[in-house]
Symmetry: C2
Subunit: 487 residues, 2 copies
């Protein structure tokens, strides 16, 4: 028996049976097993791996069923000839992708998005004891069993057509119905099905709208500080990006605002300062937008996490003029890796955005749309929001206290909820340096520089998020941070 | 008891328990149940719906657990106060999306993709007895149990981080590994991980590449006839789209080809004619591309369905120059609704495409990436390809015979495999009219006009696909079609 064929790791994610199957399939398809080579008996394999024979029998049975192995009487198991049809041909020498590469790519690129500054977070953030990082979910709060149950139903035989078909430009009608009936009315918005488009996260909605509405001549406005990914999208399409100031009431109405064709804003919780725009400011913004024919894209992220006041309805709900396009996300309450969001706009805008989405991605994967629709319709989403609300409020209070105690000299822009604090460090602090030093102590924070579009924007702001850190870790983490700031 | 609250449909996809839960959650969240209104007892509800009491008990238990209902001793079930927090406020009158709509949207749009001609297929194609339509999968061939098993594993607690996190610009390393080790070598391509990008279907890869490489001045070449969605993508970016002729060997090398900066081609099975480009033609094309510095996008769709010859390696595998960008899809063998594809390109191109994808969609949903990775690594994908191969080959032969018998006057461009025939009807035939007439007889075909970019392109071509029609239906369907063509 060739021992190297199958290795078992007890602490692996996959079951032992799965690991055995995977190793044998790999060996067959990678051409490591010759046609006439016998496979160890189930007894031998079980003994050599130290697993139960039953586990091996089940793995072998699956491989027999699928034609990878054949059983010969009195002789045991062999690799099937059929399986080798798909295997690598030894006489085929694959060619490296960039072989000669005489191309002058830089001259070919119409844009270089990789050169843009952007938020970067360590992929292994979960291994840090104090991850104050933004936009991830706390796994301990997520109703995994319910989600899996919905996924199981969505993958059911009866719905097979729904999730396997290419549905071209169409969304899952059940998900659209849930957005229309369950999510939008609470934001004060009444939409018909053809005024809603499901997108690959809010990010995709913003990209679609920019492609549709921004040319090289368009003057767009952007909150400063603001969401860097949107500034980056705008910058790919137009050089005319105005950085509009933000104060304690959110986006400030100004002549610079009036001069824009299109403005991006986050009234529920300004990104990244978390301030909520009060009603009077909203009315003023809409009035000025109407007089100067400014279109508004409202990113209503995290509206559901206002712990202090009654949630303010969306800016869109005050819009008499059809000039606010609403963008929402399921990433913050479900999970970001799912990539589900939506936009709400007049029918003719949705029609164009739908045709563009067809060319860009077709549609969000149907299985996920259906799973999310079931999750919403069975009330699990509402249950989850209530649970997040309780957990986040507690963490928000703990963090507020910890900041008051340990970093009294740093001022926090008043935050009404959300999932983070926006902290202004002492003048002269470089939060990029602070973040590096903190990481070595196990504390992850987000330097604020990237949220400013202006050259020479301030470096002393940083963001502390609490959506994926346990209550008990907040105070100790802030204490460590405070020691570093003091030095 | 208010009878209208819960309706049960026996032939629904959802289980009875799910239906009861959904109806009660709806009534609570839509504000149809008052705070103090008692809910019928499980016994009454079971009797009134004619279902087992156990079903109702389980549904109620879930609602108690999630805080939608409260049980009061000796008094029964009531809607919980907490649950109503999220309910619609009766005093909040939602505002319609397009309220006043004084906006001149037409003047705002930078493009109008909805005006482009495109393939349209009836969404209810499965209800037609003879669906000769392209690009859908045959549910009877799909290993649903294996897919569900992989999905279940991918949703497992141990992998929670993998699928819930926003992974920003990164792909699932397990899926990238499977593409690199399992799929690309068979196409003669050797890539490193940073030369592979997972996309939302091949469509998304084509959109990303166009955005990166095509400006208003770029001269792009497109097969004629060819894939309309690519022509449409190109047309959004540049007015300089050359329609390059196709013959029995695929794309024809020509001076028009030499004059392009970038050319899109489908060498494995030309879309829509299904011809395979022979080796000499490939070499000639690459030689001319090198002399005139033409970049090539190779869409290698359906490479695995060549039943007649040994599959020809990808054009990319002959490319010494790094000028061919390879686009692949998992839609044809898994299912199109999943939206998974990939592109292979030099590292610096992938780096830019990845940064652009981050702005456009972030990444393909992580749960689907992981499910597909498991499906590939356990050999289910290879098993499926072998199964499809057998089934499609038989259908291809049956359809070839049926066409020879019933439509001898229509010439078919020789097709080596694929999942469709490209049929040239008699001169003067309008295949759009034929498709309409055929649909009334239960036969769905695809008129070919949309595949031609030229004004005044021919109308007598049509496509007959066999990927989602049962063997036994092929001959009778062609017979009906033949009767219609004769008339």
């Amino acid at each position: 028996m060739r021992d190297w064929l199958v290795h078992i790791r007890r602490n692996e994610h996959a079951s032992l049976q799965t690991q055995i199957r995977e190793a044998l399939v790999s060996a067959i398809l990678d051409g490591q097993l010759a046609r006439d080579e016998p496979i160890p008996s189930t007894r031998k394999m079980a003994k050599s791996l130290g697993v139960s024979r039953n586990t091996v029998v089940l793995a072998y049975q699956g491989l027999l069923d699928d034609g990878y192995l054949v059983a010969k009487e009195r002789s045991g198991y062999y690799v099937s000839e059929k399986a080798l049809e798909g295997a690598l041909q030894p006489n085929m020498a694959p060619k490296p992708v960039s072989a000669g590469s005489s191309i002058n790519w830089a001259a070919r690129f119409t844009m270089e998005p990789a050169a843009q500054a952007n938020v970067s977070k360590p992929m292994d953030w979960q291994t840090y004891p104090y991850p104050f990082i933004y936009g991830q979910v706390d796994h301990t709060l997520f109703p995994l069993a319910e989600w899996r149950d919905c996924a199981r139903q969505a993958l059911g035989k009866k719905w097979l057509g729904t999730w396997t078909n290419d549905t071209w430009a169409n969304d899952d009608p059940l998900l659209v119905e849930q957005i229309r009936r369950r999510i939008l009315p609470r934001r004060g918005i009444m939409a018909s099905d053809d005024e809603i488009l499901v997108t690959l996260g809010a990010q995709n909605a913003l990209y679609l709208l920019t492609t549709l509405l921004v040319s090289a001549k368009t003057r767009v406005g952007m909150e400063e500080p603001g969401y860097p990914d949107v500034r980056n999208i705008f910058s790919l399409s137009t050089p005319h990006v105005s950085l509009l100031p933000v104060d304690g009431k959110g986006l400030v109405p100004s002549e610079a605002f009036d001069a824009c064709d299109l403005v991006f804003t986050t009234p529920s919780h300004q990104f990244p300062t978390t301030v909520t725009m009060p009603l009077e400011r909203r009315m003023e913004l809409l009035k000025r937008a109407a007089s100067h024919d400014v279109l508004i894209i409202e990113d209503d992220y995290e509206f559901e996490t206002n712990y202090v006041n009654e949630p303010c309805p969306a800016l869109k709900s005050l819009d008499d003029d059809g000039r606010v396009i609403y963008v929402g996300s399921l990433s913050k309450t479900l999970f970001p890796g799912l990539r589900l969001g939506f936009l709400v706009a007049p029918k003719n805008v949705v029609e164009q955005a739908r045709a563009l989405r067809r060319l860009m991605v077709r549609h969000a994967p149907n299985n996920n749309q259906r799973t999310a629709a079931l999750f919403l319709s069975l009330g699990h989403h509402d249950t989850l929001i209530r649970r997040l609300h309780r957990a986040y409020r507690t963490r928000w209070e703990i963090m507020g206290e910890a900041l008051k105690t340990h970093l009294p000299d740093s001022s926090q822009v008043p935050g009404f909820g959300g999932t983070s604090f926006w902290v202004k460090g002492p003048d002269g602090l470089d939060s990029g340096e602070l973040a590096k030093a903190a990481a070595t102590k196990g504390v992850l924070i987000e330097p604020g520089r990237v949220n400013f579009g202006a050259a020479g924007g301030p470096r002393n702001f940083y963001r502390l998020a609490f959506s994926s850190i346990a209550e008990a870790k907040i105070e100790p983490g802030i204490r460590i941070l405070s020691d570093l700031v003091q030095r």
